[in-house]
Point group: C2
Chain length 466, copies 2
């Protein structure tokens, strides 16, 4: 065992000895209902930011809570041990998705609850994994290193934002304004999944996202369907007819030009993913479904990681209470999002969607739009010393090499880091596909959390030694 390997072992041991304290800290953060989408939780978002800052101050970071036009972010620096060590930018987010529908939770969403599951203990809470648990995993790695060495093994900059779940509207401004303080060699994010509980993964491909709310208005007021039905335009009929045409019978998205920039996947990439042995039937059975959606005739992982989609995320209008109300509504609304693949332009897609709707509404019906997210897809280069160090850390921690996967989700900050800061990002995450992210009873397996913390300890140690 080399000296540095001995040091890593010592830090791992320290992390194990202080596990209870780490959980206590994690649970403190989970108890703060920092829901960025809901204005009533603005104070809680501020509190979560202050909590993160306080943690970093204890570890010798210089740390600030920076106000933005929305929720504040935390920006912190640690100079490391001195000398020519790599400089990492760790990114996370303290905000969480709304917990609704509350009635489907088996325990209160903001009271972390330890549950015995089929794979050992799990922690159930909103944000358990996304992203508070993954964030506390690397904070825990920092703390273990600090506890043993009284410093950090590398130069580390930390950026933790509070608007990831609403599309990071303030992030770009922060990156531009703080460009000098965000200089680093590589970004590191833990906000993705493992392949399965035994197999770690590095994510090298992310879909983009274009998310828009469309509002249709057809009449000056709600109307009685008896008196007006057969003459007045019904905006709910119009909205469903328009959105009902988003896909053809083959599952292909019908926006004009939607696939123009989509390149076919190299056959060797398809083959690599096919070799993972993904079982879509089991994947769907886990959520109570039987038959896959999406484009017909394509392998499941290609559909999930490398093909664009269109989804209605919410729809509402007219009478939604109990009983029968014979109303023809004046307004109708929908939230619609598009998962994008490399080379698709979010702005082009949103413009095409607006034309698609405009072509399907009769004269006198008006449409307005709120663009809520626009982020391009990304491919992360696999050849770098950072990816090599992560590969080694994960192999040592799990006893098997990580697989290189894609993700159907978006981590728009990765695209911003590349574009604004010129930084590539290592995506090393510890979630599982059944973690119920964004759903009731979100959870993080305790084993995944601990593996995550230990993998970050190893990553820092290997990069310090390199």
């Amino acid at each position: 065992m080399s000296a540095s390997e001995g040091r890593i072992a010592e830090v791992l041991q320290r992390a194990e000895a202080t596990e209870e304290e780490t959980l206590r800290r994690w649970f403190e953060l989970l108890r703060i209902p920092s829901v960025s989408a809901q204005p009533q939780h603005a104070k809680d978002c501020q509190e979560a930011a202050e909590w993160v800052r306080a943690q970093l101050l204890e570890l010798g970071f210089q740390a600030d809570v920076l106000p933005t036009d929305g929720k504040p972010c935390v920006l912190a620096h640690h100079p490391g041990p001195g000398g020519d060590v790599p400089h990492l930018l760790y990114y996370g987010h303290y905000d969480v998705q709304p917990p609704e529908p509350l009635e489907l939770w088996t325990s209160p969403p903001f009271e972390p609850t330890v549950v015995d599951g089929p794979r050992g203990k799990r922690i159930v809470a909103r944000g358990a994994v996304d992203n508070k648990g993954q964030l506390v995993a690397w904070l825990g790695a920092f703390r273990a290193w600090h506890s043993v060495t009284r410093t950090m093994p590398l130069r580390i900059t930390v950026l933790v934002e509070g608007e990831e779940e609403i599309g990071s509207p303030s992030l770009e401004k922060v990156l531009i304004a703080q460009r000098a303080r965000l200089h680093a060699d590589q970004a590191v994010i833990s906000d993705t999944n493992m392949w399965d509980i035994a197999t770690p993964a590095i994510t090298t491909r992310l879909r983009g996202l274009a998310y828009v709310q469309v509002n249709l208005r057809a009449a000056a007021r709600d109307l009685h369907s008896g008196l007006y039905g057969g003459s007045a335009q019904n905006v709910l009929n119009i909205l469903t007819r328009a959105l009902g045409g988003l896909h053809d019978a083959q599952g292909r998205v019908q926006l004009p030009g939607f696939y123009d920039r989509v390149r076919p996947l190299p056959p060797e990439q398809v083959a690599e993913w096919e070799s993972l042995g993904f079982n879509e039937q089991a994947f769907l059975a886990g959520i109570g479904q039987k038959e896959p959606a999406g484009e017909k005739g394509l392998p499941a992982l290609v559909r999930l990681w490398a093909r664009p989609t269109a989804d209605i995320n919410g729809i509402w209008g007219g009478y939604t209470g109990s009983g029968a109300k014979t109303v023809i509504a004046a307004e109708a609304h929908a939230k619609v999002s598009f998962r994008l693949v490399p080379d698709q332009d979010p702005g082009e897609v949103l413009a095409s969607f607006q034309r698609f709707i405009a072509d399907r509404i009769p004269p006198g019906v008006t449409a307005s739009y709120e663009s809520l997210t626009a982020a391009a897809a990304i491919v992360v280069p696999r050849e770098s010393r950072f990816v090599a160090a992560a590969e080694r850390a994960l192999r040592e921690e799990f006893g098997r090499p990580p697989v290189f996967i894609g993700s159907g989700g978006s981590v728009p900050v990765v695209e911003s880091f590349k574009r604004v800061l010129g930084l590539d990002t290592l995506l090393m995450g510890f979630g599982l596909e059944d973690d119920q992210v964004h759903s009731p009873n979100e959870k993080f397996e305790l084993a995944c959390f601990l593996h995550g913390m230990r993998s970050h300890i190893r990553l820092l140690g290997h990069l310090a030694q390199a």
Copy 2:
């Protein structure tokens, strides 16, 4: 002037002298928020029923509030002056539609507000016209007769229910159980419109209504659209695709067999309606619309009164809060209704709708249905002494003869009266098309209310004399 004409003049004079008191009584009823669709208003419905009973007791009726499985109804009798006088069954409803959306009301919905409009004073409140105002108009006629003669000019039975706005689920049971007490020669209802403020109308044709809520479920829980988009079924995509196919490009409803029983309208009926000079552009301009919906190539009044329709009255599912939530919802819901014409069977239409949906959902997605209303269309015979008396009353009151019109709306009780009690119904109503029935700022023109009361005074007088 004959003796009976003198008597009618005296009663009309009495009504005018006590107008202020009549308005005070009407406003009392409007202040009771008797919303039948909303469980929290159950007590208010009871109170409204008691209010109606108390009015009738003051006029010498024997009157009961009868419990039902839902909201109570009021059943009352007056033996009249004795002798061989006709026996009328007056029907009304004390329940009202939900007032939502509240923010669009210019005054509180349950605080009747007198507003100066272009056609004189109007009363703004939920239920102003539908049906509290029209009901108090005939109660006012009863009171004026009672005040002058200490009795009623005819035998009168009164039935006032509290579930009309939710499809009268208990009414049929009441009609069957109380058949003996509901015996009469003719039913009279004021729940329809005039042709315009100067032209009274008798409605001889009503559309039926089949109203159903459909609930789709696709997954065991809400899903993250990044992790599942492209594989998991999105129930909102499925629901909009299915409902988006309800009409073809010609505006024809696409349920299998929907038009099979629809008979073409006699050309002379079409011609009679065309002679009314209905201005659809102005009708639509009044609600802020430009281009008519409905079946292409048909005259407006035919579409409104004599052709069936399909309308989505409400739709909801997924994330409907502020901001962006990338969720694939587990459940989606819609309220869908069909206006029916004579010979269409509501049960057949609902069954056809269920097949239509079933044909459009993939395996593993489940649909459930709640049938909320099912009433056939009706045609009222024009040749009867009751219609003749009403024609005369309206001609005298307005100085011009009434027109015979259809209505696109449903008064399902008319069909029940015919089927269960063997009774034809005189539909003599005093609403106007711009009364905002079922919408915010519902109103009743004071002139229409007073004409209505006076027309009922005349109707009773002429039938007593006949």
